[in-house]
Amino acid sequence: MIFVATGHCLPFDRLIKRVDELAIQLDEPVVQQTGEGSPAVNCKSFAYDSSLLSHFQDARLVISHAGVGTTLELLEMGKPVILVPRQRQFAEHYDDHQVETAQKMHERFGLKYVLNVSELTVDLLTDYSYVAPWTDEPLDRFRREVISILRT
């Protein structure tokens, strides 16, 4: 199953529509969390759930907006993920910080991201299986060092 996570706040119809077009050509189920966006037509979709973890666990591949919380959950889970950052020029967010986040995740972990949804193709979604090498070391370091600050 391929799962799409669009987050919340503004609609992300650009991503929803592109994956919806591909869904009829793919050989596996597609489920989309659409948030404030339009429902999908060619695959199952829902606006919100109390948690997306079970959907992530069930998915072979996740295509996600580049929100920090979602990206972190997927990295920790060791799930193949393609990031599609929300962009200001399409009124998907108030600025382009998700593009920064996606670029950093690519530099740091080799995560794939696309800015143009036409780069999402049947072949890419069928074959993509890269799992980023996750490490807790930066978080462990923060937690060790912040204790010494807080206990002064």
Partner: protein, 156 residues
């Protein structure tokens, strides 16, 4: 009792806007050894299920409600609990609470969100001059802000 058993935990109030900011804050600060954490945020399924959260209803859309609520609820909680530190990962709830903390003389710490690598969040721009400790989660952030900025790791 040994001295370690009588040491009072360091009390931390984490003020963060519900959603990703609160998620980051909890990852960074929850369960630190020798500390006791309480949370200040807006009402949500998560905050209402937490034993250690002070939350308030979202009464205005946009940033103003978060800022006003964070400030006044922050005043209330800080006066009542006298935390050793008030920390925040943003956004407007954190701005309001950290301003309240400064007015009340509490120690303050701000962590720029991990989603900001080469740009500044609104919270960071407002809070950099105010807080006692200012942290960024990416090394690139050191070049964006002034001399008191520190990088000690982060979520990624």
């Amino acid at each position: 009792m040994t001295p370690s058993q009588t040491t009072k935990p360091t009390s931390i109030l984490l003020a963060a806007t519900t959603g990703g900011h609160l998620t980051e804050g909890l990852k960074l600060f929850a369960g630190l050894p020798g500390t006791q954490l309480t949370v200040l945020s807006e009402n949500s399924t998560r905050t209402q299920s937490m034993d250690n959260a002070h939350s308030y209803p979202k009464f205005l859309t946009g940033s103003i409600g978060g800022l006003i609520g964070g400030f006044f609820k922050g005043l209330h909680v800080i006066i009542k609990q006298r935390p050793d530190w008030v920390v925040s990962t943003g956004a407007e709830v954190g701005i309001g609470a950290l301003i309240a903390a400064k007015l009340l003389g509490a120690r303050t710490l701000f962590v720029e969100t991990a989603c900001r690598v080469r740009s500044k969040s609104k919270s960071a721009k407002v809070l950099y001059p105010l807080v006692d400790v200012f942290l960024v989660q990416h090394e690139e952030g050191l070049a964006l802000f002034g001399g008191k900025t520190r990088h000690i790791g982060g979520l990624f």
